[in-house]
Amino acid sequence: MTDATPMTAAHPAAPILAGFARRRMISFAVPLAILAYLAYAAVAFDLAGLASRARMDNAAVLLSDFWRHKTHVTRDNRSGKLTVAVEGEAKGTWPEGRLPDFVTTAGDTTTIDLGRGHRVVYDPQGARYLHPEAGTIAIRPDGNRLLLDAPEPLPDWINASDSRVSITTGAGRFAYTRSKVETFRYAAGWPLFFFTLDSPFAHMSWPELAASALWGQRVDPDRPNIAAMAHDFWTNSMWRHGDVIWAMFETVLMAFLGTFGAAIISLPLAFLAASNMNPLGPLRFGLRRVFDFIRGVDALIWTIVLARAFGPGPMTGSLAILLTDTGSFGKLFSEALENIDEKQVEGLRSTGANTLQRARFGVIPQVTPVLLSQVLYFLESNTRGATVIGAIVGGGIGLLLTQAIQTQKDWEDVAYYMVLIVLTVIAMDSLSGWLRRKLIKGA
């Protein structure tokens, strides 16, 4: 390159080439910097130690709870009493004299069909697990010990000691102790989602339910079956649909009150903070700093302060949203007001309109679509935010969710709440999108 020296000084392409070189450097440097930062973060977050701390058994419990449930079939070995309960809970217990299809009794013998050829038989001598490949595993109490009759060598899915024998197969789980014998049968789906077993409707199939709702004999003579069904569903003690729907409604209410309350408060304030509306410089400056302060303090801290004053509940949550959004709306609205077309205001002024009239007829019609679109956007994101705020202040679905997660066993409830939240957020999303399109196009 003999002409390299003059080119740097005078060649017209020199700055472009320099720009190319700079860009090439950036396109290598930026990914490198990101990688280096992520590597630092991996060390800072102790990613290596994560594997040892992770509880994969918890993950398995969580995932299996999400989509399936188990039914406990328990016999008290001393009294011989048989109980069948969904998830082993009192509110999921089958009523006396009624058994699910997979449990059959004949005299003192109970047979449980686990599916795929696996069966468990409880009889007065003890209990037997009938495995389709491994054959029969029989357990019989003998004094203080348990006698196990199983194929040798003992497969690893049988865990036996003198006082307890447990069998875990793909079909279910079985455990025998001296005091009781218990079998868990797994089935897909959320248990008793519509009706608990004490409701007469729990034992009907879908067509039977439809028939009973439309023309069937009244189960409760005081009211039509469809009302009885709605009542039984609403008061379902396992899923508490009534409470959950109320909580979800509270969360939406929090978002609604907070967002629109903030919009109502910040609209006049925004007029005072816009440079083309308010000639008083110091007042404008002061208001802007107030908006900055409110946004800077952050929703978390406002929520804590408000929760101290008003106690837990949806009102506290909506006030927290209101306060935080007042800061954001104040800023956004005053910026929108500063960007209006002055001609319409001018025109009104020439007809002798006063300040209020100029604002009402010259400014408001111009900014309404912009402001409403922002408010609706916030409404949608606040619906999601209200879940978190509810978890902090103790109201709405956020509270139910954190409670369910903290008990660490009702994961099917967590899944239910999640589905409900996601559906609500998506519904709010499409509602606000629809309104936004309607308002902006219609204006």
Binding site: L50, L257, D292, I301, F310, G311, Y417
Partner: protein, 292 residues
Amino acid sequence: MVDTAFGPPRDPGTRQIESAYLELTRRRRMYGGILLILFVALMASGFRLAEARNAGGFVDGLPMLLSFPAEVLSEAWRNRANLPGMVLEHLPSLVETVNIAAVSTLLGGLAAMLLALLSTRGLARWPRLTPLFRRMMDATRAIPEIVIALMLIYILGGGPVPAVAAIALHTAGALGKLFSEVAENADPKPVEGLASVGAGWGQRMWLGVLPQVAPNWLSYGLMRFEINVRASAILGFVGSGGIGYDLKIAMQWGQGRYDEVVAIFLLLFVTIVAIDRLSDHARTRLVKGRNA
């Protein structure tokens, strides 16, 4: 109408138009009034309902609104000598909170880039799958961060990783939507040019789309970083690590530790304001050009 008496005589057609216009205005005003009344009624009844289901009433709580901050501030003022030390003590947690936000913005942003390109009409790698990627973004956007974080805490134990995963997932959906809106408006000519010389999909995106959308994407990414710093503080308060967790512990101690609460408040406030300012500045430069 008074002014018609003074105006020149009008033909019946004009008068008809005039009355129709006035009728229309009246009706619009009535609809507006009805909507307003409905809205006010909705707000008022909603507020009363919320108050009824709240532990404390609005009027009873108002005087207490200032008493808690006053108590906290007065105690912190008495122990003001401790403040600098406490600020230093909580600095590592603050760094962790900011790190959580930064890592999740980065990871979420990278996922969002991919999702956005895959779900933008005209750019997608597999045009038939665009609805699938869109629904994926919708779903990740709709799940609140706290749900993912708390479930991951159950599996992974405490620490920053659950928070990062939760925020990153949400960021991927939220940014993906915005990114895809930007990419939709990108000029297709460079992409076509690259396609005509045989560039693969990755090359077309990297060389044809990315340079066009980078300023806007970066601007949205910075905005998301601001939001994520706040989210990471809140997640810390509800479950994971970082400054939010310190705040919760200090609050649970209550009286006697309020100087610590104030120190954490201060740290959080200064950080959020500083990040807001920096990103605001950077964003104006990115979108409006170097000299703005």
